[in-house]
Subunit: 133 residues, 2 copies
DNA sequence: GTAACACTTCAAGTATACTTGAAGTCAAGA
DNA sequence: TCTTGACTTCAAGTATACTTGAAGTGTTAC
């Protein structure tokens, strides 16, 4: 199995080494081997880091990730909790997308509005109304 | 023009009074009138607060909001900066949506995977592979 | 008149997620 | 041997966006 130094894993995942040490401290990365005192990661850690980044990208708190990865250590015992956690997170992401899409159209309206004003300024006409753009 | 106490504006916008005071401190809410020492808001503040919440919902930093509302005080002088700010923010939201949609399908895969495991456990079958769910 | 209530100011505190700095270890190269 | 570079640990610091607490003011209810 391939192994990685902290520098390699850092570059592969675009994550600062300080964050990798932090994730280990708080138990998001577990069973990190040592060669002397230096950390040696493997493909398991690479995969977990991708999961961490997926969760992070979608706004999951570190506390929930800690829960999730602890549950994952004994899936049969925690299967219901795991399903609840991921299902709730799925709903949360859908909600975030819905909010962003709604607000995006407000922002797009603003973009049209201010472009209209700029055009009016350069052409020395009167400014558009918010409603008409 | 309608006016609002801090409590009314707080309830109308679902924003803690402490946040309203904070927004005023840092210049996001401006020209707040006083009746004695008590803040009196109006429809202008209500509208601005909706804008603040739109920006906040879409992840804009307070620093950028400060820029935006300062620019808005003199639109002709800052029209290019305003257009750049809102256009960049539009692109930022689109990027956020794209990331969320991509990660959502990962999470949905996880939901299917763990539901498959639960089913396998209850029916005493062997667990599904990640790829097959 | 006094208690309750809604508000005020201002400084300090909070949560999250890391980052930074100081001091030290260890192996390889000149 | 000495220096450089990459790593180590651990405590303290940082950024963002507020919140909380203490102490005070002013108006209404009994």
């Amino acid at each position: 199995m391939k192994t990685y130094t902290i520098r390699e894993l850092s570059q592969l995942t675009n994550t600062p080494a300080s964050a990798l040490r932090y994730y280990e401290d708080i138990g998001l990365l577990t069973n990190v081997a040592r060669e002397g005192s230096k950390r040696i990661y493997n493909d398991f850690h690479l995969a977990r880091l991708h999961a961490i980044q997926c969760f992070k990208n979608t706004g999951m708190s570190i506390a929930k990730m800690q829960d999730f990865f602890r549950y994952e250590e004994n899936i049969p015992e925690h299967i219901d909790a795991i399903i609840q956690l991921v299902t709730e997170h799925e709903a949360d992401i859908e909600k975030q997308i819905a909010i962003l899409q709604k607000e995006l159209s407000h922002i797009q309206h603003k973009v049209r509005f201010y472009n209209g004003i700029k055009k009016a300024i350069t052409e020395d006409r009167c400014w558009p109304e918010w409603e008409e753009v």
